[in-house]
């Protein structure tokens, strides 16, 4: 799964062509059909997102970038079942996430979400934090602890299972949050600027770790960020959202094989993609 996901991304999708690249063989994991979101307040009426169409295949890693205010967090909150879309449909493995303003809980329970803040529970140990989703689901204690230890190992926190969040650094806390999201073996992993609060060096290391974890678990990931390099480094595809209203401006396939080493960033092809995206994002500025 991990191996062929790199192969699947062969060509660059043109601007506004939001579907999967032609020839992609994986089944659709997530489909966004005409998603839009309006916010109404007493004074204003804001079109946060409009006409978002996107299909994400099984095992694909999709980065979403855009300037602040382009609606990327709004989009993720809708995918996570926290905010209902005004228009359109979200399908996860063909099942609708939203029925009007009501969320289908059986679909939500198959998602893993990582927020910008780790939001760990300080009264629980690392293992208990990781196993919390399993506990809420009603899994047995032995079973969920075994899973928690396995995941702590996976995210590089072996030996810290009994530590408490206050004893961990910011990067380690975010690893716990990732492990917690993975605990239920989610069909889709949603990440909202998960490394936004970390320093540059930790962030770089976390990017490598996340890539490794995503490949090891064959996870399908939607990764929101405002860091272009990070988006290109991690993504099979990069979705560029442009603000007011939030729309997909372009979807770029990133053709470097995964796993990618940190050196890929110095390759000319990589630099060119980053530069193009930067120019495109700069054009958003004036809008």
């Amino acid at each position: 799964m991990a191996a062929d996901s790199a192969e699947m991304v062969e060509r660059t999708a043109g601007a506004r062509q939001a579907g999967p690249p032609e020839g992609a063989s994986g089944p659709a994991k997530l489909e966004l059909i005409g998603i839009g979101k309006e916010f109404h307040t007493k004074r204003a009426h804001t079109q946060a997102l409009s006409g978002i169409d996107l299909t994400i295949r099984d095992g694909e890693f999709v980065s979403v970038i855009g300037r602040s205010g382009c609606g990327k967090t709004t989009l993720l909150r809708m995918l996570a079942g926290l905010l209902s879309p005004s228009t359109g449909q979200i399908l996860i493995e063909g099942r609708s996430l939203w029925n009007g303003a009501r969320v289908d809980t059986s679909v939500v329970s198959q998602l893993g979400v990582v927020f910008q803040e780790a939001n760990l529970f300080p009264w629980y140990s690392v293992a208990e934090n990781i196993a919390l989703p399993l506990r809420l689901r009603g899994d047995g204690k032995a079973e969920r602890l075994a899973r928690a230890y396995e995941l702590a190992e996976l995210v590089g926190l072996g030996g810290f299972e009994r530590s408490y969040p206050r004893e961990l650094s910011g990067g380690m806390r975010q690893r716990v949050a990732i492990a917690r999201a993975l605990s239920i073996r989610p069909k889709l992993l949603l990440m909202d600027e998960p490394f936004g609060a970390l320093d540059a060096l930790t962030r770089e290391r976390m990017n490598l770790e996340l890539q490794r974890i995503a490949l090891a678990t064959a996870a399908t990931v939607v990764f929101i960020t405002h860091d272009i390099t990070e988006a290109v480094f991690l993504g099979d595809r990069v979705v560029h959202l442009t603000p007011r209203p939030g729309r997909i401006r372009q979807v770029k396939a990133i053709e470097f094989d995964r796993p990618r080493g940190i050196d890929v960033q110095t390759e000319p092809g990589f630099g060119a993609i980053v530069r193009d995206l930067r120019h495109a994002l700069d054009e958003d500025e004036g809008r």
């Binding site: 079942g81 809980t105 979400v113 939001n119």
Partner: protein, 265 residues
């Protein structure tokens, strides 16, 4: 490392030192100015009296009465304070409609109500228990109310994204994150409960350490008065440390607990 250690040890050295200096100056002052024992007995005299007071079994009956009244009042305040605090914290319109009453009842000097309680409930323990409960109630209730509202929105979001039931959100998140506030209220509440009991005993009845203070005053027995005050302070300290110990046991994860342990510069 060694600096951290020495910082931790500092209060254990400084406190006895300050006490020794304090008692020495006290004794010196009393001797130099030849102060009457009726006004200010020296520490040596007080110690002598303290031994007498402590060895008198009647003192322990009084202490037991005071402790019982304080603890009973405190427990009533704890249960009612948590219950009212949770309800007011969860139901904003109720809190809004009751706020003027709550503010008014806080402003009323509650100690002034003791004579009224004596009329209603007699000179026995009941009037003191009620006084202790009234004083301890407000800090507990207000803290719980604040705690219920201070649940971190990010953590709430996590629970929501995990599809949690209301009950799960309550037990795993709201209850746990409100606990530090409950204990903060309890630490203030236990001290106020003792004050309520003692003032209650000053004003009516013939039991308790507060009564003993008034009696020794009427006997113009200043050394015994001092000794009783010391006993009251010890009782207060003891009760405070019990509450503090409960806090350490129940919320070891909270900053107010682990922060104390590794407080360093």
């Amino acid at each position: 490392m060694s600096r951290e250690r020495s910082r931790k040890l500092l209060p254990w050295v400084s406190t006895p030192l300050i006490l020794v200096v304090f008692f020495a100056l006290w004794e010196l002052f009393v001797r130099v100015y030849d102060v009457s024992e009726l006004v200010l007995p020296g520490p040596a005299t007080v110690l002598e009296s303290l031994v007498q007071v402590v060895t008198d079994p009647a003192t322990w009956d009084h202490a037991r009465v005071t402790a019982t009244e304080t603890i009973a009042g405190f427990l009533i305040a704890l249960v009612s304070g948590v219950a009212v605090g949770v309800v007011l914290g969860k139901v904003p319109w109720l809190e809004l409609s009751l706020r003027p009453m709550i503010v008014a009842s806080q402003v009323v000097p509650k100690v002034a109500l003791i004579p009224l309680f004596v009329i209603w409930f007699g000179f026995g323990m009941t009037s003191k228990v009620i006084m202790a409960a009234m004083l301890a109630f407000f800090p507990i209730m207000l803290n719980v109310q604040l705690g219920v509202r201070s649940v971190d929105p990010g953590q709430r979001e996590v629970m929501r994204s995990l599809n949690s039931t209301r009950w799960q959100t309550f037990t795993h998140l709201e209850l746990k994150s409100t606990m530090p506030y409950v204990f903060a209220g309890m630490e203030v509440g236990i001290v106020l409960a003792i004050i309520g009991t003692i003032v209650g005993e000053y004003l009516g009845g013939n039991e308790g350490l507060g009564y003993l203070v008034v009696r020794t005053l009427n006997e113009l027995n200043a050394p015994a008065l001092f000794a009783t005050i010391i006993l009251l302070s010890v009782l207060g300290l003891l009760l405070y440390f019990v509450v503090n110990g409960l806090k350490r046991f129940f919320i070891p994860w909270h900053e107010s607990v682990y922060g104390q342990q590794d407080a360093n510069g």
